[in-house]
């Protein structure tokens, strides 16, 4: 899935940053620089995707 960061800036200059397509906490790493560059964080909300674990492969051998 395409990973995007959407920034919406309203006519009053207030910005909302949304990350899409990221699983787990990787979204925070992706958008941190943008958020810090824009200004002061006033609110934050996690979506269901945030709580998904990133898929990693694991091989189990049983003897």
């Amino acid at each position: 899935m395409t990973r995007t960061i959407e920034i919406t800036i309203n006519p009053k200059g207030e910005a909302t940053v949304q990350t899409k397509g990221f699983a787990g906490a990787s979204c925070k790493d992706a958008s941190r620089l943008i958020e810090q560059a824009l200004g002061e964080k006033t609110a934050e909300q996690h979506t269901a995707e945030f709580y998904q674990t990133q898929v990693t492969s694991e091989r189990v051998r049983q003897s």
């Binding site: 990973r3 919406t8 909302t16 941190r32 943008i34 560059a37 200004g39």
Partner: protein, 125 residues
């Protein structure tokens, strides 16, 4: 979606401020001291349309000094436009610096939406 953050835009990048002024057709900011109604302020000086006094921006702190007498000496929406333009230009600068593509779209309510595509290699923004 993964997470949503609300941000109060702060003007801290002189290059993005200059780009915002170009975007709005304003004169380029100058650095120095400016006289306001009852005080003086030092920083990046921007003359907004039809404002009696300029706004002075301290890019170190993001603080904006101004005197518009509750809108009588200048329409607050002009400052809002500057903040919006700055946010757009700053976000584009940062996204391009990280090597990402950015597209811009104006929404019906006057908001501006920027979409940054994060590369498959997972470059951080």
């Amino acid at each position: 979606m993964s997470h949503i953050v609300s941000i109060r835009t702060q003007i801290r990048d002189p290059a993005a401020l200059a780009a915002a002024c170009v975007r709005l057709g304003l004169a380029q900011p100058t650095q120095g001291k400016a006289r306001l109604y009852s005080s003086e302020a030092e920083g990046h000086i921007v003359q907004l349309p039809y404002w009696r006094y300029p706004v002075v921006i301290d890019t170190t702190s993001g603080q904006i000094s101004m005197d518009n007498f509750n809108g009588h000496w200048g329409n607050p929406s002009e400052l809002d436009k500057l903040l919006q333009a700055y946010g757009c230009e700053k976000a584009k600068i940062e996204a391009r610096r990280a090597g990402h593509n950015v597209t811009e779209q104006t929404l019906a309510d006057g908001s501006i939406k920027l979409t940054i595509q994060v590369g498959a290699t997972g470059g951080a923004a």
